[in-house]
Structures are given as structure tokens and as C-alpha cells.
């Protein structure tokens, strides 16, 4: 009953003149952009960022610097003493910030205790569990019969991983963590406290890190396979040449050249946070906030979440096969089987149940 014709005579291109009477060829289709913008402004945006790294690497400071306000856990918690927790905790704090009429609900998820124990085995597990829990909550809401108009999005969009500035190479903990988590969330690695490295050391360190990431097959944001078109690829390639960003965070302002800017004052000079000659904080901020925020959210929503959903629904299927299954279930390669809720036996994706599941 329906036919789709090839692009028919395109209408005479109206060059966007808003006056109705004079230009008949203007239909007004591009007014939809304005409508979308209005809708977006009314609804507001949500962003969930997780920061992971050993204590003392300046995570909280960097968050404060990124969003130019006291958004980190430390600023919110009444308890001022710095104690390293005995176990990994996951603390998430939400803030409503507004800029030029654009409202955003920012959630910063902090992970104190990561990598701080003597034995750090499986320290990524609570974090993976948290991330998967957020996906689960979203999935539950989505398959509800009566579901909300706008499903609240608590999925972790971006995970900033802090690499200590050793100057040599990645530690096994870093490799292990990033390897596992790059499959479920967008990871942005940064070199913390980069003011301890000279420029040459920094470049060398970055190169080593990039090689190691490549060698271990770790795909950090922006992932190569999700580039949409050649333009994107060009932009993202430039970014990929620069990661990990070497950042310095600060929430103190100093007087430099008559201007007040954020920086760190030392005896031998003042490091300006937003000066790209000093550190790459500006690039990180631009990437995360000014240019790629929507892209980050899209990849989380359409790729990471979808693959979680596929896994989850396949598992539910596997639990309910009525036919005696002599199928061989392959064990999961990314140690998530322990985290999935209530799926003790089915620890693998049964591809044979695809036909069954597709009817759903």
C-alpha cells in the first residue's frame, strides 16, 4: 500500500526568508529547528559523569574546574576530613545548573576507594555493577506498560579515568580497568596532575599510553567504529591524536597579566588552567561539554545501552527455554556474569534463541 518514491522535484530552495507574502517558495520546514530548540530548552538536559581514579589525583578539583562551581562530592559533604574508605564506595550527587537559559541536571558520580587498597583485585566490579544497574533501571522503565513520558536518564554517559602521572606507562590496574569498562561505557582517559611532567615527558607518556591502549584493544572515546561520516572522522582523528589529555585542575583564581584566571600558583610560576600552552584542560572541556556532549549521550544510549539490553533480554530468554537445552553456552568474556541479577545458570549469550526472541 505504500510506495516510497525517489527524491521528487525538490521545491525551489527558499533561502529562509521569514516574510510570508514576498517569497512563495518558502514553505517553512526549517522552522522545525527552532521548534526543536524550544522544546530542548524547556525540557532541559541531563548529564551523568563518573570520575574514577586513585585518591589524591585531583578528581574533585577537576570536576569543580570543569563546571566552574562546587559540584564535587567533597564540596557537598559536610565531613571535611580526607579518609580513604576501606571499600570502594560509589557516591553520586546531582546538581541543577543553568547557563543562558539552558538548564542541565548534572550528576557527578565519585568512586572513592578505587585503587587504594593493597589488594586491588576486582576493584572494577562495584563500578561495573553500578553502571549496569543504571542500565537496568532504564530498561525496566522502558519495558513498563505504563511508562513515564520522559524516562529519567541515570545512565552513566561518560567515565573520566585518571591516570597518575608516572611518565612511564600504564599500570596493570589501569589496563585492566579500562579494558573491561570500555565495553560498557565511554571512557575518557586523562593524565592527572600534569603539571609534574615536562612537555617532552608528557608527549612520550601520551604516546606510550596510546600504544598500550591499541595493543590491548581498548577503545576509548571517541571510538573509531562509531564515526558517522568522513567529517566526523577527521575531527575525531584529531582528538584521538591528543588523548589522553594532560590536565590540571584548580578552583582558585589568581591575577595574571591583569586578568583573574584559574590556576595553580607555585614558587616557580603560575600554571594557567585554561591556557592550552600550559595544559590541555581546555581541550577536555571543549570535547566533553561544548562539542561532543550530545554525541557522548547518543553513543551511550544507542550503543552501550542497546548491547546491554540485547544481553539482558537474551538471558531472560535462555532462562525460559522449555525445550531441553543441550546448547553449548559460551561463557562471557567480560567478567560480568557475576553482576547480572538473578541469572545464575545462563552465563552466556544463546544465539540459538534469536528466533524465539525476535518474535517478542
Amino acid at each position: 500500500m505504500s510506495e516510497s518514491t525517489k527524491p521528487h522535484h525538490p521545491p525551489p530552495q527558499g533561502k529562509g526568508e521569514k516574510s510570508h507574502g514576498s517569497d512563495f517558495s518558502y514553505v517553512g520546514i526549517d522552522a522545525i529547528l527552532e521548534q526543536m530548540r524550544r522544546k530542548a530548552m524547556k525540557q532541559g538536559f541531563e548529564l551523568n559523569i563518573m570520575v574514577v581514579g586513585q585518591s589524591g589525583l585531583g578528581k574533585s578539583t577537576l570536576m569543580n574546574t570543569l563546571f566552574k562551581s562546587k559540584v564535587s562530592r567533597k564540596s557537598v559533604q559536610p565531613d571535611p576530613e580526607e579518609r580513604i574508605p576501606k571499600t570502594i564506595e560509589i557516591k553520586s550527587i546531582s546538581h541543577n545548573i543553568e547557563e543562558k537559559g539552558v538548564r542541565m541536571k548534572l550528576t557527578v558520580i565519585d568512586t572513592p576507594g578505587f585503587g587504594d587498597q593493597i589488594n586491588n583485585e576486582n576493584c572494577w566490579q562495584p563500578i561495573m555493577k553500578f553502571i549496569n544497574d543504571q542500565y537496568e533501571v532504564y530498561l525496566q522503565e522502558e519495558i513498563n506498560i505504563n511508562r513515564k513520558k520522559r524516562i529519567p536518564d541515570s545512565r552513566v554517559h561518560c567515565c573520566i579515568y585518571f591516570i597518575p602521572p608516572t611518565g612511564h606507562c600504564l599500570r596493570p590496574l589501569d589496563v585492566e580497568f579500562m579494558r573491561r569498562l570500555s565495553k560498557v561505557v565511554n571512557i575518557v582517559p586523562v593524565i592527572a596532575k600534569a603539571d609534574t611532567l615536562t612537555l617532552e615527558e608528557r608527549d612520550y607518556f601520551k604516546q606510550t599510553i596510546r600504544e598500550e591502549l591499541r595493543a590491548n584493544g581498548i577503545d576509548v572515546y571517541p571510538q573509531k567504529e562509531f564515526d558517522e561520516d568522513p567529517e566526523d572522522r577527521v575531527i575525531n582523528d584529531k582528538i584521538r591524536e591528543m588523548i589522553p589529555f594532560a590536565v590540571v585542575g584548580s578552583d582558585h583564581e589568581y591575577q595574571v597579566n591583569g586578568k583573574r584566571i584559574l590556576g595553580r600558583k607555585t614558587k616557580w610560576g603560575t600554571i594557567e588552567v585554561e591556557n592550552i600552552a600550559h595544559c590541555e584542560f581546555a581541550y577536555l572541556r571543549d570535547l566533553l561539554i561544548r562539542t561532543h556532549m550530545q554525541n557522548i549521550k547518543d553513543i551511550t544510549g544507542s550503543i552501550h545501552y542497546e548491547s546491554y539490553r540485547v544481553r539482558r533480554l537474551n538471558e531472560s530468554n535462555a532462562l525460559f527455554t522449555t525445550v531441553s537445552s543441550d546448547h553449548v553456552l559460551q561463557p562471557k568474556t567480560n567478567g560480568q556474569s557475576e553482576e547480572q541479577l538473578g541469572a545464575p545458570q545462563a552465563n552466556g549469550v544463546a544465539a540459538q534463541h534469536e528466533a524465539l526472541s525476535h518474535e517478542m
Binding site: 526549517d30 571499600t87 534469536e354
Partner: protein, 429 residues
Amino acid sequence: MASTEIARQAGEGARAVPLSGHVGFDSMPDQLVNKSVNHGFCFNILCVGETGLGKSTLMDTLFNTKFEGEPTQHNQPGVTLKSNTYELQESNVRLKLTVVNTVGFGDQINKEDSYKSIVEFIDAQFEAYLQEELKIKRTLHSYHDTRIHACLYFIAPTGHSLKSLDLVTMKKLDSKVNIIPIIAKSDAISKSELAKFKIKITSELVSNGVQIYQFPTDDESVAEINSTMNSHLPFAVVGSTEEVKIGNKMVKARQYPWGTVQVENENHCDFVKLREMLIRVNMEDLREQTHTRHYELYRRCKLEEMGFKDTDPDSKPFSLQETYEAKRNEFMGELQKKEEEMRQMFVQRVKEKEAELKEAEKELHEKFDRLKKLHQDEKKKLEEKKKSLDDELNTFKQKKTAAELLQNQAQQAGGSTTLKRDKERKNFF
């Protein structure tokens, strides 16, 4: 092995935090818009109305192109829906527009079922989207959305009131799609009649509980214009793709001997209002309403129909699957039973047929036997007859030879005994 401890703070009570400098996330709407522009938009309009009310012409006028298609005949047996998809582009915005027309609406003698095919079509689009959404491996991102975003209902310009067909159809459609009623060919109605007509239509719609689409008034920037437009519903439109020179400009108009109706003149008709509302102000809201209200309603009904329920939170995915499995087994069981039944029926039929055939065969055999017997009898009779004829022939022959012999003997014995012979001959014969 570090055991886990999860603490979540202030998820609900998010604090408002002032910014001390420019962060830069005010570019978010721009990022969102850019992404949408790259992706393209799609918009689907359904035109419902009797044949000849100018639906195709209005579409052409609205979007400033000549969509293909000739006017349909009036002799369609039922209502069918024809949909065509076009790709339009204006500055950098690409729009995939789908126009669905009802062919044959209002042409039948019995119009009771006219609305059914329309409702089915709309439901089918929802169903397709639902299927895609429920798939395990899905590609919602690149899915071509065919759900109807706006339904333009063309009302014939009688000047009196709505036809009952209109009322019934609109009532059936109002919970499925955003209905925008318009008065077609409104250059047939005078201004005063038009005002009365509009009032009559609105009151009839209200009294019958038909919910037409209301332009949204919650956003301050468009609330005012939307609320004024709401009071002008239904729009009285005139469509035309022909251009006429008025003054020193070419305008779209319809030319009559007594004057010219300019399409884009607000005093002449409400076309500009319709275009403003439909495309320039509320296109996005129409799409959103379709997705969040009509589609959700359809989805809820469909899932409840299939037997899914929202049970307690910790068994949700399982209950979905469980019910599904249970239903599936039930269905398979039924299927098997049906198969059995059919098989049995088939076997029965075969048996019957066989018996019939056997009967027929027997009959044929009997007939054949009878015929054979008849044939044999006849043959026997004929043979007997032949035999008797042969006998006669033989006797005749014998007699003939005997007579000839006597004749010869008589000739040899001389003529004296001719008298005797004559006498004998006479006695003999």
C-alpha cells in the same frame, strides 16, 4: 576482595548550583539541533476526506511542489489508503514527508465500514514501530518512522453541519491521531455562512466528544499565537497551484469570472494560518504528541491485550518473558490441536472418497459383466442361426447335386423313358 558499598546521595533533591564562569553547555541545544539536521526529519500526514475535496491540491500548495498522482475515480469499491513518500529539502533541513490519502472515502453506497481501513492503517504503523521497539537487536536510531503525525480531516463545504460519516470517522480517529479539521473548498461559502458553519461544527464536535488537536499553549513564546489559532479552528482553506498576476506579483489563486480567490491572502481564506500552525510552529509538537500520547496508548492497550501486566518490580522482566512463554505454549498447543483435527478430517475424507470410488468400480465391473454376457448370448444366437442357414444350404446343395445326377442319368437312359421321366419328374417335383 573489596566488597561493595553503594551510597547514593541527593538523587531527588538535586541542589541548584550557581556557576562562576562560562562553562559552555549552552551549546547543547545547538548540538542537539545539529545532530537532528544530520539525521534528517520525517513527518507523516494523513488526509481524510471525500473524493474531490481538493486534498492533493492542498498538499501541493502547502509544500509548494507538485506531488505526483492523478485524481481518483469515484467508483472505488472500498476505502484504501495510498501513501507516498517524498524527500524535501529547504536550506539545510531534509524532510522525509509521507502523504497518505484515503482513496474512495465517501463514495460507497454503504459507508459503514469506511473508517475501518483508516483505523487499521494507523494501527499498522503503530504496530510496526512497536515491533521494532520490542525487538532484541533493534535499530531505532535509523528506523523510518511511519506513524501518522497529523490527520487533516477535510469537511465538505455544505455550510450546514457535519455529515454523520464525518462525525463517526472523527470519533474513531481522535484517540489514535492528532486530528486537525479543515473546511475544504471554502471559496464556496460566503463569509457570514462560514462563521456560522464554524460555530456549528465546533459545537457538534464538542457535543459528540470528539477530541481534536489543540495547539499547545504551555510554552510562552508560542502560547499566544496558538491560543488565537485554536479559536479559528476549523480552518477554511482553499488550495491552488496555479499562479495569477495580481498587481505586479504572481500569487497562487483561483480565478473566477467574478473575482480571484488568493490563497495566501488572510482575508480570503485560512490557508496561511494552517501552514503556520501545521509546519512552522507545531510540527515538532505534533510528532511529540503522536509519540507520547497516541503511541503510548496503543502500546499499553496492545501489551495488556497480549496478557502482559506490570507486576511487582523485582519480577518484571521475567513476568514479561513468562507470560510470553506461557502464551506461546498455549498457542503452540492450540496449533497442534488444530493440526490434529485437520489431519483427522483429511483422513476421514480420504476414506470416504476411497469407499465411493470402490463402489463406482464395482458398478462398472458389473456393468461390464452384463454387457459381456449379453454379447455372448447374441453371439450364440447368431451362430445358431448361421448353423441352421448352413444346414439349409447343405441340404439344398445335396438336393441340387442329387437332382443333377438324376438328370444326367435320365439323359443317358434314352428318350423312351422321357414320358416316364416326365412323369417321374413331375412326381419328383
